[in-house]
């Protein structure tokens, strides 16, 4: 598809007002910002706490169309439920926390450099995470490298339970910067 023939509503139906809103939103994203490569320095350490609510788990599971009932701490009509899984109550899908690492890899108070791409992850799922847990995601930039003329930033990540310190998840991941 050439640029000339692509429209905002090429892949989903929209009215004129939806198209205007979408174009305005995309324009707003292209505000002044550094590239990911420039935003991150090797040795940078950042940490944030994430409360993994039942609704957040449903949002994730629906977005990847994974309807395993083990992940359900919220159901329509009954709303909050303890859920049931081999570990007792509802648990978090294996790679959910991996997605949220992105929000810890850079200073989220600065405009995000759009166009960066996640290219690799090596994840260790160490213990099941109960739905409702609050986890601390800690990321450390451990390398910046250029491969085939492309710029990559590598992070090392730990996910622990804020309340009891359980180490749930460990990961190394690469982002390709613009």
């Amino acid at each position: 598809m050439s640029v000339e023939t692509v429209n905002t509503d090429s892949l989903m139906p929209m009215t004129e007002i939806q198209i205007r809103q979408t174009r305005a939103f995309v324009d707003s994203l292209q505000s002044e910002c550094q590239t990911y490569w420039d935003m991150v320095n090797v040795g940078d350490e950042l940490s944030r706490d994430l409360h993994i609510t039942p609704e957040l788990v449903i949002l994730y599971a629906d977005a990847v169309e994974d309807y395993n009932p083990w992940y359900e701490g919220w159901r329509m009509n009954t709303w909050y439920v303890p859920g049931e899984s081999p570990f007792g109550g509802a648990i978090v899908p294996p790679l959910l926390v991996s997605h949220f690492v992105l929000s810890v890899q850079f200073d989220h108070t600065k405009p995000f450099a759009i166009g960066s791409i996640h290219t690799f992850h090596e994840s260790e799922i160490l213990e099941p995470i109960p739905v409702g847990a609050t986890v601390r995601i800690s990321a450390r930039a451990i390398d910046k490298f250029i491969k085939r003329e492309r710029r990559y930033v590598r992070h090392e990540v730990l996910v622990t339970d804020v309340r009891n310190g359980t180490l749930y998840f460990r990961e190394v991941r690469d982002i390709l910067s613009r």
Binding site: N7, V64, P86, L102, G115, E122, I125, P128
Partner: protein, 148 residues
């Protein structure tokens, strides 16, 4: 431990006797633009949901975030390994090609090794996700303890 909980197998479809070479039945999903544009993924990178922006950056269509195919692979592995997938498991994924909007993606797996561990084995599974033409998009390995 119960055999099933809420209709899902606690132990999955693989057991300590499953041989090297065993092929996992995957999951299949369409790269639906509405899901690619979910606020879950942030919506701050229009390459994932806006065809105009994607075209301006040289892409034939918006591309899925890699986390989506990793999640599909994880779903396949939970089907096959059950509860074991949530403790001391390892997932390595490399995104080798972009998944474009409307492509149909299928995950695959093949047991490539079994290493004795405790009373069971640590299974290594070669995993990948491809489109309807068989073009690989994501490749990797998964390691899971079975019967340990």
């Amino acid at each position: 431990m119960q055999q099933t909980i809420q209709g899902r197998s606690v132990h999955g479809l693989i057991n300590r006797d499953t041989p090297v070479g065993h092929v996992l039945v995957g999951v299949r999903k369409r790269a639906a633009i509405q899901l690619m544009g979910s606020r879950l993924w942030g919506r701050f990178n229009p390459n994932h949901w806006d065809p105009v922006y994607a075209a301006e950056t040289g892409l034939p269509a918006p591309i899925q975030t890699g986390e989506m195919s990793s999640a599909y692979i994880a779903e396949m592995c939970v089907n096959h390994f059950g509860a074991a997938m949530f403790r001391n498991a390892r997932v390595v994924c490399k995104y080798i090609a972009s998944t474009h909007a409307n492509e149909v993606i299928t995950t695959h797996g093949r047991v490539s090794a079994k290493t004795p561990k405790g009373n069971g084995f640590r299974f290594t599974v070669e995993v990948w996700a491809d489109n309807e033409q068989g073009e690989k998009k994501t490749v990797g390995t998964v390691e899971v303890d079975v019967g340990v």
